[in-house]
């Protein structure tokens, strides 16, 4: 059984795409990541390899994760020995795509940009090109399109878009390389799952086109966020309770997050029966070619600022509503972060940081269970339970760099800081103003819940501050 399957796969791989592209390049990156546990610090440089391909405009498309935190990016043509220095022109961490540019005109000489195709059909054959494990020449693997689906993009951790699953081998180093069909790019290889060796994923063209269109104005806005949490209407009872007539289908809206596309347009309890006129099934999916994907895909096709039509079943009738595609800025704190330095304030050895995913990740992979439960509540549950507080940036006192001026404080970091010198903190910047505005003998810190309070002699703290920065090798005391 297993052997037969392997034999089939080998047979499928035996017929290469006749139009092997020459415009696939090796992307060589030297990166330096930030350290969220010591937020003023960058980690040692590390090198990594990926793939990319030339598109029109002399640009190279690759994955965001290939070039994230890059300090130097080199691209090399397989037919040449010397690499070219490239710059990162745009990065979309929410769709794991990036565009590079090489200023040296020699780079593109003789190369043809690869044209973009369309979403391939399930069962059709595709061929990947790239540099798995680096290497001199382009490596090619072949396979079939296993399915088209909506799936999480692991790079950002929270975004989900269209993906194509293939059995063509996609390995480390393939990332950013093109997946081709009939001479056209049908996707960008980007992720796999350990333990599922015969399953790779590529980013299909609609997502790539969205990214390229987005950056045309020189700025990446990102995919819009609907802000909708929906539940499949797979329960006949629930459908009846919503009064949905026979022949109508859709997903019921549980929550509408503030500031998303649906905010102020869609209401909890609405049933989304169509998006852009495309009917939505009871499980929240739409038909896309011969695949079923979540209706989020239709929202994904819009750029921020574009309108989208949403048909809902509400109060016993169908209503078509128009919404403007919006992006929820605060969701950045929920994503894995790349290319941005951690924000922090150090004052007299007290390290303040805003609560975000990267901070929670310093508690280890199991942070939803193992991190401080107040932090977890704020990060994962507060907005849904208390939507009026959605915009609050939670300030965490993450650690104390011990010095005689602060060493006798007794709280257990990390703690959520509620107030400093009587000022209720709405964000990290308030830490600076609340400390600077104090003329009393003591700075007073109030922690959330039952974590208590602390005080710090202002004169001693001011004197200790520069010493602590020096002793602990902190180049600057803030990054707001």
């Amino acid at each position: 059984m297993i052997l037969a399957a392997l034999a089939l796969a080998a047979a499928a791989a035996a017929a290469p795409d006749p139009q092997a592209p020459e415009s696939v390049v090796l992307v060589q990156v030297y990166r330096s990541r930030y350290d969220w546990s010591l937020p003023w610090r960058q980690e040692a440089v590390e090198g990594s390899l990926g793939s990319g391909f030339l598109i029109e405009g002399g640009r190279v498309v690759t994955n965001a994760h290939v070039v994230s935190d890059a300090r130097e990016v080199l691209v090399r043509r397989p037919d040449q020995a010397n690499p070219y220095v490239a710059t990162v022109e745009a990065v979309g961490n929410d769709c794991d795509l990036a565009v590079l540019r090489v200023s040296d005109p020699a780079f593109t000489r003789g190369l043809k940009p690869l044209p973009l195709g369309d979403v391939p059909r399930s069962g059709s054959r595709v061929q990947t090109y790239g540099f798995p494990l680096g290497g001199q020449d382009v490596s090619s693997t072949a396979g079939i399109v296993s399915r088209v689906e909506s799936r999480g993009y692991v790079h950002s951790g929270i975004d989900s878009h269209l993906v194509v699953q293939t059995d063509a081998a996609i390995n480390p180093g393939n990332s950013g390389g093109p997946v081709m069909q009939e001479g056209r790019v049908v996707g960008v290889a980007f992720q796999g799952y350990s333990g599922f060796d015969n399953m790779g994923f590529f980013i299909p063209v609609p997502v790539v086109r969205h990214f390229l269109a987005d950056i045309q104005d020189g700025q990446y806005d990102g995919f819009p966020d609907t802000g909708l949490q929906t539940t499949p209407l797979l329960s006949p009872s629930y459908r009846r309770e919503r009064g949905l007539p026979e022949g109508k289908s859709g997903a019921v809206v549980d929550l509408v997050a503030p500031d998303g596309t649906a905010d102020g347009v869609v209401k909890p309890g609405d049933v989304i029966v169509a998006v852009e006129g495309v009917p939505v099934a009871d499980d929240g999916t739409i038909r896309l070619g011969d695949a079923r994907v979540t209706c989020e895909h239709l929202f994904d096709l819009k750029q921020v600022g574009e309108t989208v039509s949403i048909t809902v079943w509400r109060d016993g009738r169908e209503q078509t509503l128009t919404a403007t595609s919006r992006r929820i800025a605060r969701l950045e704190s929920k994503r894995n972060r790349y290319g941005v330095a951690p924000r922090f304030v150090v004052y007299a050895g007290l390290v303040f940081m805003p609560l975000d995913t990267e901070l929670l990740k310093t508690f280890g992979r199991g942070w939803p269970q193992t991190a401080d439960r107040n932090l977890v509540w704020h990060h994962l549950f507060r907005e849904a339970e208390q939507p009026e507080t959605a915009d609050r940036e939670v300030v965490v006192l993450t650690r104390v760099l011990r010095h005689s001026a602060n060493a006798q404080m007794t709280f257990n970091a990390p703690v959520v800081v509620e107030r400093i010198n009587g000022v209720t903190l709405r964000g990290l910047a308030d830490v600076v103003s609340a400390l600077a505005g104090n003329k009393e003998q003591f700075h007073r810190l109030e922690f959330e819940g039952t974590a208590g309070i602390e005080a710090l002699d202002r004169a001693k703290a001011e004197a200790a501050h520069p010493q602590i920065l020096r002793q602990y090798a902190i180049p600057r005391d803030r990054n707001l």
């Binding site: 006949p236 009872s237 549980d254 003998q441 002699d457």
Partner: protein, 529 residues
């Protein structure tokens, strides 16, 4: 613990509520302590007389006083407890039974005193003497899981022949040699040598009480099942736990207090503070609060409304003195007998619920004297009871949806629960678990779904916190049952706390009712809830 976990202990934290800390046996004896002594002494004397006279009945010779070893053997028995836990994942079923052997101390009454959390969920108690059969059936006369301590009665008078209580030390030694005793199956008393390392305020089993505790090193293998610890021919305590080569021993003054309480009318139990606090070691904070350098004190960060002093103390108060004992900035005081002890011991040591505990506090710059009335706080008073004994899960099955209140035993079904249970439930435990909410005394969960056509579409939902049912807030299983009695327009609508996998579940009320028998049969749920 060798028996299935029936509860969970709270994580140790810097400012946990009523953490294990100090007791003070008040030198300025309060009336309760005097009562204790006057009750217990005559009882001991009477019972000692009875046992001394017994050997004389069979012989004319003047009996030599029994050796201490014989007296030990006559004062220590074996207690076998068979128990059974409910299965909190399928709450209508019980798990396989367990049997645990522990040591009992003969006390006046006569009864048998046991210090162990293993008395919870018992179905059968048997006692043995001399480490040998026969086993005599016995019953639990009194149990205080918050200690945890239990008194066992044996109906058969023959069992008591030749047994006599050992003296319980009035005060615990702070150092020196000690021996640890139990009956193994061999029929010879197992006596291990050891030494008292230190005296402290400690917690035992699943309790949150602070009781006088000894740490005793011992060569005994295993242990921690209520073995009798002796020094200088007096019992100084019962072992409740073992780690490494050391047993934690509930000290005799706490045992004496329990026995005196149990002998009187209406058991009062032990009090708990029900407060959270922070140390005040930071001189800047002390100065900012207006404390003088001569003062100590700890600052309250939380006052539970069902705890001692809820009406008197306030978060932010600095407790300077309790019953005349000055607290240092870490909450330690000078115990006249045992040295530095953490202050929660003052809530239990020589005092009982209902007693007044005078305190000096600093509040808003004023130094006040207040009197706290001590209160007993039971596990079921917590919004999420950390342990549950003698009852199974309270559950309801409606249309295949299984509902249950959130408890420690339910969380412990995840094994290493604090790393494995669903994050929202862990958040509930830490943030909402102790604070009572009168309108919502419990957190009600949709724990699982028993798949059936009546609940099509919801099969994968589990461990969701319920907010409302049919428009009515749900804060107890009774609320839930009442709310399900009134469907809305033919539907049951379950609203879940937002931020979880699902917000709303709708069932057809008639379908759910029609499916009830079918679901019970398919999943082996007995008729009932």
């Amino acid at each position: 613990m060798r028996f299935p976990a029936t509860g969970i202990s709270r994580r140790a934290g810097g400012c946990c509520v009523a953490p294990p800390r100090p007791p003070a046996r008040c030198a300025e004896v309060n009336s309760a302590a005097l009562v204790v002594l006057s009750l217990i002494l005559p009882a001991l004397v009477l019972s000692a007389c009875a046992s001394a006279s017994r050997p004389a009945t069979g012989t004319r010779a003047v009996p030599a006083p029994p050796s201490f070893k014989d007296r030990l053997a006559a004062g220590i028995v074996t207690v076998r407890v068979t128990g059974q836990e409910w299965n909190w994942k399928t709450p209508w079923a019980k798990q396989g039974p367990w049997t645990r052997t522990m040591t009992g101390l003969v006390v006046p009454g006569p009864r048998i005193l046991v210090a162990s959390p293993g008395l919870g969920n018992h179905v059968l108690i048997e006692v043995q003497r001399d480490g040998r059969d026969p086993r005599t059936p016995a019953r639990l006369a009194l149990v205080d899981h918050e200690a945890p301590l239990g008194l066992i009665e044996v109906g058969d008078p023959a069992f008591w022949q030749g047994l006599a209580p050992l003296p319980l030390a009035e005060r615990a030694p702070t150092s020196g040699p000690a021996t640890v005793h139990r009956w193994p199956r061999s029929g010879q008393l197992d006596s291990a040598s050891g030494a008292v390392r230190l005296v402290r305020a400690g917690r035992h089993g699943l309790s949150r009480l602070s009781l006088l505790t000894l740490d005793v090193t011992t060569t005994m293998e295993g242990g921690g099942d209520s073995e009798v610890v002796v020094a200088g021919e007096e019992v100084i305590g019962l072992a409740t736990g073992k780690s490494g080569d050391q047993v934690a021993v509930m000290a005799s003054p706490a045992l004496r207090q329990f026995l005196a309480d149990a002998a009187g009318e209406g058991y009062r139990g032990f009090a708990r503070a029900g407060i959270g606090w922070q140390d005040l070691t930071n001189p800047d904070l002390r100065a900012a609060l207006g404390l003088t350098s001569a003062e100590g004190g700890i600052r309250l960060t939380r006052v539970l409304p069902h705890g001692s002093g809820a009406d008197v103390l306030k978060p932010g108060d600095v407790i300077l003195e309790i019953a005349g004992h000055a607290l240092d900035p870490t909450g330690q005081f000078d115990h006249p007998l045992y040295g530095r002890m953490s202050f929660p011991l003052l809530f239990t040591d020589g005092r009982q619920p209902g007693d007044a505990l005078p305190m000096k506090v600093l509040r808003d710059g004023q130094r006040l004297t207040v009197a706290v009335t001590l209160k007993r706080m039971l596990a079921q008073d917590d919004r999420i009871p950390p342990y549950v004994f003698e009852r199974g899960p309270d559950y309801a099955v409606v249309g295949g949806l299984v509902f249950q209140d959130l408890t420690g035993p339910y969380l412990s079904t995840w094994g290493d629960w604090s790393r494995r249970a669903p994050p929202r439930l862990l958040v509930a435990y830490d943030r909402e678990g102790q604070e009572p909410w009168p309108e919502r005394p419990r957190i009600i969960l949709l724990t699982s779904v028993l798949p059936d056509p009546a609940n099509l579409g919801y099969q994968d939902q589990r461990d969701l916190i319920v907010d409302k049912v049919n428009g009515k807030p749900v804060g107890s299983m009774d609320d839930l049952r009442q709310a399900f009695a009134e469907p809305q327009g033919g539907f049951h609508v379950v609203e879940l706390v937002p931020g979880q996998a699902m917000r709303r579940i709708v069932l057809d009320a008639a379908e759910a009712q029609a499916a009830a028998g079918r679901i019970r049969a398919a999943y082996g749920v007995p008729a009932g809830p």
